[in-house]
Amino acid sequence: MLCIAGYNLCKSYNDSNQNIQVLRDSTLEVNEGDLVCITGQSGCGKSTLLHILGLLDAPDSGRVVFGDREISSSFPEAPSIRNKELGFVFQFHYLVEDLTAKENVALPMIISGISSAKAQREASTLLGSLGLGSRLHSYPNQLSGGEQQRVSLARALINRPRIVLADEPTGNLDPEHSAEVWQMMQKLNKDRNQTFVIVTHDIESAKLANLTYNLAQGKLNLLS
């Protein structure tokens, strides 16, 4: 069953009076339960593709279909879809420094209108299941890089989104912590049938996915 798709996506940027075409008629379909990896060289447009699918950016042309409806970042319901149906993990954890791990994870639920107390209870349970039960009250600067990224993953999962979009989630981690995060995403994919689209330049890790694409010259090519 189709979860999210981008059809004939084109996107270009102007840089120093030069027009750089990062996506050229690219098409990607992601089904429920897929773990999709997109690889490619730095600056090839992987993150741009992810941002377009995540309704954070708009393509110059092409369309994004979410489930059975076409959607765009400019639609009024886009913030609500980003909150409830999509989860985001970035290369830098982007945790709120003034909030504890538990409060950071609870944020998407509080934004969706659930009470802070209930959201924090849910967050505690989720962090416990991700092995961070002892770090609930730690602030981001008291956590290791791997722990920060796991908290970020928990925040992406708290609203039980249909799809998690991860942009270089291990790009900032050492090999040990990187493996830890990859294992966790694989486990969630298997155990909870959680759909992932992961952008990475780590070819070895990308082999763990059930679908791997390479983005080059603005075009997506299926690798495996």
């Binding site: 941002h51 954070l56 909150n83 934004i111």
Partner: protein, 407 residues
């Protein structure tokens, strides 16, 4: 306040230190406290000045003055009848018949113009100036006189001294011209109301002495009428009512006819000072704009995350405005307290005194009016709110993708 705003606000209330200790926050708070403090102190002192002046004016002068339209004196019987008739008016508190005229007070070569008022001390009529007698006694016998404090000081006279009072009488004409009547009085009291004009010219004697100086039959020149407190501001209306009941033979003059212009001028100055000092709050508002801009720059990361997670710009703006607003409101209240303290210090300080000949009264008094405090709070809060919301508008223009790219 939605759940997210409430969550961040309660979180902020639990540990506000991180924000409060920001450099820009400290200066924002200081700016508001100082500007509101100065605004508040200025208004408190002007309010105090206005009240003191009004109090002294109404204490020194009668609220209504009744005279014969022809300028003649009241006979004793007529005075009694008039007092009896006027006492039936509930607005009137006290009626004092008096004789009043201009004289010269002399001490050797020093001569000053003065205003001699003669009262009846037989106990038949009340007199109301006793509270202003700072030295000596307030009840007089023949040959005794009370002198205004500035007049006494200018003439170099003190209690117990003799004072020569000169009145140019038309019936004392010699071959060399008009010959003035001269009387010697013993100073038994010093009058000090705080109102320079009175203290500079006041002389009080018995009505009998005044009559013999003028060489007239027993009688009075005017009736000084004091109203009940609640009717003082309606003196003009009460005067019109009395005028109507007494007819054209008498003229009734309210205090507003002589002093209201001065009080209106002071009130206008007070509000002009208020408007000028409001600009100080506006200048402090620039610190608020700077502090909010710094917070936005500092929290760009947070704003990007919240927008990515589905929070609206409106909600983020309100979240930040509650945090800054709370500090700003606390600073305004602290500023008002600082203003009260400042005005108290100015009132109690002994270094600078008002010059009575310039400012009418010679003491600085602060008065904290609740209405003024509400106005200061409302104006300062409105200006600060504007200054908080102005920079917050940039959150609307922040694109998530730009924020993420710039990290």
């Amino acid at each position: 306040m939605d759940k997210l705003e409430r969550f961040f606000f309660s979180r902020y209330l639990k540990s506000p230190k991180r924000n409060l200790l920001r450099f820009s926050f400290v200066f924002m708070t200081l700016g508001i406290v100082l500007s509101v403090g100065i605004l508040s102190a200025g208004l408190n002192l002007f309010e105090g000045y206005e009240r003191s002046l009004k109090e002294v004016l109404l204490g020194s002068f009668p609220h209504l003055t009744l005279q014969k339209s022809s300028g003649e004196y009241f006979g004793e019987t007529e005075t009694s009848l008039l007092v009896q008739q006027l006492t039936s008016h509930s607005e009137i508190d006290q009626i004092t018949p008096a004789m009043n005229y201009s004289v010269m007070a002399r001490n050797e070569n020093k001569v000053r113009g003065a205003n001699l008022t003669g009262y009846d001390f037989s106990g038949k009529y009340p007199v109301s100036y006793a509270k202003y007698i700072k030295q000596g006694k307030s009840t007089l016998h023949s040959g005794e006189i009370i002198v205004g404090s500035y007049l006494a000081s200018e003439l170099g006279k003190k209690l117990g001294d003799q004072l020569q009072v000169v009145y140019p009488r038309l019936d004392r004409i010699s071959a060399l011209g008009m010959f003035p009547a001269e009387f010697n009085f013993t100073i038994v009291g010093i009058y000090s109301s705080g109102f320079y004009e009175s203290d500079r010219s006041m002389l009080i004697s018995t009505v009998e002495d005044a009559q013999s100086m003028l060489n007239i039959l027993p009688g009075f020149g005017k009736l000084e009428i004091h109203l009940d407190k609640e009717y003082i501001d309606q003196a003009a209306d009460v005067a019109a009512t009395l005028q109507g009941s007494l007819g054209s033979e008498y003229s009734v003059y309210p205090w507003t006819m002589f002093s209201a212009g001065l009080l209106r001028l002071v009130a206008m100055e007070k509000w002009l000072i208020f408007i000028i000092f409001c600009f100080l709050v506006l200048i402090a508002g620039i610190n608020v704009i700077s502090a909010v801009t710094t917070i936005i720059l500092d929290k760009t990361n947070e704003i990007a995350v919240l927008k990515t997670l589905g929070s609206s710009s409106r909600s983020i703006k309100r979240m930040l405005s509650y945090q800054v607003g709370l500090v700003a409101l606390a600073a305004i209240v602290a500023g008002q307290a600082f203003g009260a303290l400042l005005s108290f210090i100015v009132e109690k300080q002994g270094l600078y005194k008002l010059k009575g000949d310039v400012y009418f009264i010679d003491s600085l008094t602060a008065s904290i009016s609740p209405l003024n405090q509400v106005i200061i709070f409302a104006v300062a809060a409105s200006l600060v709110t504007l200054c908080i919301h102005y920079p917050l508008r940039q959150i609307d223009r922040m694109q998530i993708i730009e924020l993420l790219r710039n990290q």
